[in-house]
């Protein structure tokens, strides 16, 4: 099966459990199982090539400019990990289906699990390190969802957050390290990087890259000092713990160290950092595990300890160490997953995981006892079980390792670690299963159905088979080791066997087992001693760090963002001015190249009105109606300015927009206070005035300087002028730019306009649904009301005008391509015609005659414009390529037909819809309870009281 499919199957499959949830638990679990099984079988189809030593690849160009390609490869190492992920995944899914209770949402659980599975498979099959980073982050995210699956448990949420913080932080650091590595190697493809051992290790950036990548690996694989998140992640449901902490998540860091082994390992830096971290983690984890009373916490710390062991083996940098590490990964995955599942069974059946409340389960749960005991003894390192073999190899390796100049340090510490490891395994068996049967279990224990015990039993069979016949696993482990080592070293010749003779490793093993038994014998005084010793609590430290970081962030944010908009605006203006001043004072300014012309009288008059209106607006803005009139004058003067300065299209647009804006503001002012009170100190007003004058001067200076100089290069509009008629078929260049040259821009803009209108509609709906509705309905107008709501003169006039205005709009639209006009302006004109009907004849009257909702008009506009663009695909041209032709229908004059005109229809419709939807929304707020909805156009406001009675509508 294609590697793409193997990676994609879990991701696509993740959609299914959520959909199948209502089909029942069996269907949901079964489907998840089938998805994983399909990927697993797909993986197995590649087994022959992997056994033959080939590397299966699959690649897809993604962003070659960035060196990011979707490249997958499957070698021995990748196969090994994918096998563990999918194989143990199958057992976990079977187990989880029986483990989850009826209250748990099973679809959600399996969706998360498959997402996580896909991300893990992605990591181990990636050939591109950037792609690997993407999957790496995905595992952090999906494990967050899994760990926090029981959302109602605070420990679950906290544990998930902690895991995400630590592994996410490590992921960030790893991105940095990987980017450095890619820069050194000149490629982001693993196959290339792995060939560049000498160049990478000689580079001065090797050490930073190494440290950054190792932080990523250590956080993921819970190595000291980042080990603390793993026990807290135990708040997850047991299937998750069993999956994440035996075979997958925490092995990702180990995988990456193994993957990078040929290029990163073998240097003194690697040796010191990795071996030390591994050794410390191994001993620390084992010691803490001995004193944990929660079964899962004990297993969590033992996982930490065993990960330390594997890390230490990889750290030694020898081929034998790497082989022992690979073998132990296999063995650890089998016995640890079995142990986690057993712990889950005990929790499930006795309703407690506290070892102090257990004991004597041997006779009550014989099957579980058998499974857990074999797995635990394997973990302790007893012969004829697989844990013994890799532990022997580990001890053997330590006797050849000299750390910090001492040949004794590593072997002694490793023996101590094994000793504690044996001790906690014995405690697990002894205190849970042995001893007298008790009367006070929270629930009456008995063995579960095969759905729960079969998956761990399968794993325990493997534990025993490998333990008794290690030669069965040997060829496979050697193939994996060969792909770890790459070209850097030869695979060791050593054979896997139970009896190696009287070697030091055997003595160390025996010492560890006997020491473990002794520790068990003196466990009570030891525990008292442990409880009496003060030691740092990782969660407290972590919380303190997070809290102080959050406090710092809050302090900085609150100093900058205190919620006062005016403050941001003032700071923003001042900052822009400062930057502008800097540019002004350090840059150079050329001499003016355009002549200074004295303006004529009429423009001067217009200018004077604009300036006067603006100043008056600033001074008189407290009277809000007055302010609206003044801003209308400003807008009018701006439109006239456009007329003068050769921009007829702009003038028409500005003028029509001005009309609808003022109507809009008036509608809003209906509900707002009609005056602005005096507020703010005099000092504040002086400050604002100072800022405003400085800003105005700066804008003036900037504008004046570039207006007095020609453009530095030829404007691109030369092209537009030259091609407007030839290529676009229109003589109005502005319109041709809008609908043709830059049609895609315009397309985006009508969409934005439509979204703005829909947003206004949505806000209105929200207001009318909420508590504001009653307030609006019972509102008493604060202004005197005119008695004649719909004056007859106005009604008659607007109705007579309606067809004329529509005709004008149509004309403006049609001539737009060649003369000033077009879809935008025509849309605005038609909107005004419709608004006039609302104003004159009333909202109800106009709404009743509305045949198409404005949302639909907006949608139709965007659709027409979009389809016009798509139309060009049918003649194999890019989106929005326009075409035009001239036709003549006798007896008319020859006229032009252009696809751009169809696009302009879209623009027209979108503008009409957007403007009308906005204004209509505002008007809808104005409905009051004391006014009857009247379909009659000319009626009298009955609420006024003094209305003449005979004048009803």
């Amino acid at each position: 099966m294609s590697l793409f499919l193997i990676v994609a199957l879990p991701f696509f499959g993740a959609l299914l459990p959520g959909l199948m949830n209502s089909a029942g638990r069996a269907a949901c679990g079964g489907l998840t199982f089938m998805v994983t099984l399909a990927a697993f079988i797909g993986l197995l189809t590649n087994l022959p090539s992997v056994l033959a030593g080939e590397v299966v690849t699959a690649s897809l160009t993604w962003m070659p400019a960035l060196g990011l390609n979707f490249t997958l490869m499957l070698d021995g190492l990748g196969f090994f990990f994918a096998f563990l992920i999918l194989g143990i995944g199958l057992l976990i899914i079977a187990y989880g289906r029986h483990y989850l209770s009826r209250e748990d949402h099973m679809g959600e659980f399996f969706t998360y699990l498959l997402l996580f599975q896909g991300a893990m498979v992605g990591i181990v099959l990636s050939d591109n390190i950037l792609l690997l980073l993407v999957f790496w982050e995905l595992t952090s995210l999906s494990s967050f969802l899994l760990i926090g699956y029981w959302k109602h448990l605070p420990e679950g949420r906290q544990g998930a957050r902690m895991a995400l913080t630590v592994t996410g932080m490590g992921g960030l650091s790893m991105i940095g390290g990987m980017l450095i590595l890619g820069q050194i190697a000149g490629s982001y493809d693993l196959s290339v990087i792995l060939q560049n051992r000498e160049a990478i290790q000689a580079d001065p950036l090797y050490l930073p890259a190494l440290i950054l990548i190792l932080i990523g690996c250590f956080t993921k694989s819970a190595q000291f000092p980042f080990h603390f998140w793993l026990p807290h992640a135990m708040a997850a449901p047991t299937p998750v713990s069993a999956y994440l902490h035996s075979a997958t998540m925490v092995k990702a860091g180990i995988f990456l160290m193994a993957r990078m082994w040929p290029v990163l390992a073998g240097t003194p830096e690697w040796f010191v950092i990795v071996t030390t971290a591994g050794l410390v983690t191994m001993v620390l984890g084992a010691v803490i595990a001995l004193f944990k009373h929660d079964l899962k916490a004990l297993l969590a710390f033992s996982t930490v300890s065993h990960l330390g062991l594997i890390t230490m083996l990889l750290g030694t940098g020898t081929a034998f160490g790497a082989m022992a590490a690979m073998f132990h990964i296999l063995n650890h995955a089998t016995f640890k997953a079995a142990l986690f599942m057993s712990a889950g069974i005990i929790d499930h059946e006795t309703k407690t995981r506290d070892i102090r409340r257990l004991g004597g389960l041997r006779t009550l749960m014989p099957v579980t006892f058998g499974i857990a005991t074999l797995a635990a003894l394997s973990m302790a390192g007893l012969p004829f079980l697989n844990g013994f073999l890799s532990k022997e190899m580990m001890l053997e390796e330590t006797t050849h390792t000299t750390l910090f100049g001492s040949p004794m340090l590593v072997p002694v510490l490793a023996t101590i670690g094994s000793l504690f490891s044996a001790a906690y395994c014995f405690r697990l068996i002894g205190h849970t299963f042995l001893g007298p049967v008790r009367e006070d279990y929270p629930a009456k224990p008995h063995d579960p159905g095969p759905g729960l015990w079969l998956p761990p039993a399968i794993l325990v069979v493997l534990v025993v088979v490998i333990g008794v016949a290690p030669f069965l696993a040997e060829p496979f482990v050697k193939i994996v080791t060969a792909s770890v080592l790459g070209d850097a070293a030869e695979v060791p010749k050593a054979y896997f066997k139970i009896w190696h003779g009287l070697v030091p490793a055997l003595y160390m093993s025996v010492a560890a087992l006997i020491g473990g038994l002794i520790l068990m014998a003196v466990y009570k005084p030891l525990l008292a001693l442990w409880d009496a010793t003060p030691r740092p609590e990782a969660k407290v430290i972590f919380d303190a760090i997070v809290e102080s970081a959050a406090a710092l962030a809050r302090a900085v944010t609150e100093a900058l963002h205190n919620g006062a908009f005016t403050r941001y605006a003032a700071v923003g203006v001042a900052a822009i001015l400062a930057v502008g001043l800097h540019a002004w004072s350090t840059g150079t300014i050329g001499a003016p190249t355009r002549p200074f012309e004295m303006p004529e009288l009429v423009p001067m008059a217009g200018w004077a009105m604009l300036v006067a209106a603006t100043l008056a607006l600033v001074l008189l803005h407290r009277n809000r109606f007055m302010a609206l009139i003044l801003i209308g004058i400003v807008g009018l003067m701006v439109s006239l300015g456009f007329v003068l300065l050769s921009a007829p299209d702009l003038a028409m647009t500005q003028f029509t927009v001005e009309v609808v804006t003022i109507i809009l503001m008036l509608l809003a002012l209906n509900f707002l206070p009609k005056t602005t009170p005096m507020e703010g100190s005099a000092l504040r007003q002086i400050r604002d005035a100072g800022l405003a004058i400085a800003g105005g001067l700066a804008a003036f200076a900037l504008a004046f300087h570039f207006l007095m100089r020609e453009a530095v290069t030829t404007p691109i509009s030369e092209f537009h002028l030259a091609n407007s008629y030839k290529g676009g078929g229109g003589t109005n260049v502005v319109n041709v730019i809008l609908v043709d040259f830059r049609g895609f821009d315009t397309y985006g803009e009508i969409i934005v306009l439509g979204i703005a209108a829909l947003l206004i509609y949505a806000l209105t709906e929200t207001l009318l649904d909420g508590p504001v509705r009653a307030k609006l309905l019972n509102r008493v107008p604060d202004q005197p009301q005119g008695g004649n709501m719909h004056p007859m003169m106005m009604v008659v006039l607007t109705r007579v005008m309606m067809p004329i205005v529509l005709l004008v709009g149509f004309y403006i639209f049609l001539r737009g391509h060649n003369e000033p006009g077009g879809g935008f302006i025509a849309g605005l004109v038609v909107s005004i015609a419709v608004v006039m009907q609302y104003m004159a004849s009333g909202f109800s009257w106009a709404s009743a005659r509305l045949r198409y909702p404005y949302h639909g008009v907006i949608g139709a506009g965007v659709l027409v414009a979009g389809l016009t663009g798509i139309g060009s695909w049918f003649v194999a041209k890019p989106f929005l390529t326009s075409d035009f032709t001239y036709v003549r229908i006798p007896p008319f004059h020859e006229f032009e037909l252009a696809t751009a005109a169809l696009f302009d229809v879209g623009v027209f419709l979108a503008v009409v819809g957007a403007v009308m939807l906005s204004l209509e929304s505002f008007s809808r707020l104005a409905r009051r309870a004391d006014m009857e909805d009247s379909e009659h156009a000319m009626d009298i406001d009955p609420s006024r009281g003094d209305a003449p009675e005979q004048a009803g509508g």
């Binding site: 100043l615 050769s646 804006t661 002028l721 508590p771």
Partner: protein, 113 residues
């Protein structure tokens, strides 16, 4: 002519900034409108000023003003209407909900934190 346009931009900007720094929503909206005028004219004038040379192609006419800034400003005017409408709606909703049209958080709301 250049001086008139540049000084108009300056006056509109100054008025806009002053109004944006006011404490109530309505003057702030008016200020944004003034700034919109200023920015639109500024963008428009980046094509330099020309009188009597509209970008409508005609036989025998060789000089036209720069059409590109005009096209850009045309859509900017329409879009700014949409944005003004949104911000008016937002401020209206805020006022109707709380009977308060201050733009900044008021002291009593800060104390509640």
């Amino acid at each position: 002519m250049e001086f008139l346009v540049a000084s108009a931009i300056g006056v509109l900007t100054a008025g806009g900034i002053y109004m944006v720094l006011r404490l109530r929503t309505f003057p702030v909206i008016l200020g944004i409108s003034l700034l919109t005028y200023a920015v639109n004219i500024f963008l428009f004038s980046s094509g330099r000023l020309a009188i009597g040379a509209p970008p409508i192609l005609q036989k025998g006419v060789e000089t036209y003003t720069d059409p590109l800034p005009q096209a850009l400003v045309l859509t900017a005017i329409v879009i700014s209407f949409g944005m003004t409408a949104v911000i008016v709606m937002v401020s209206l909703g805020a006022f109707l909900g709380s009977e308060d049209d201050h733009v900044d958080d008021q002291p009593e709301t800060e104390e509640r934190q």
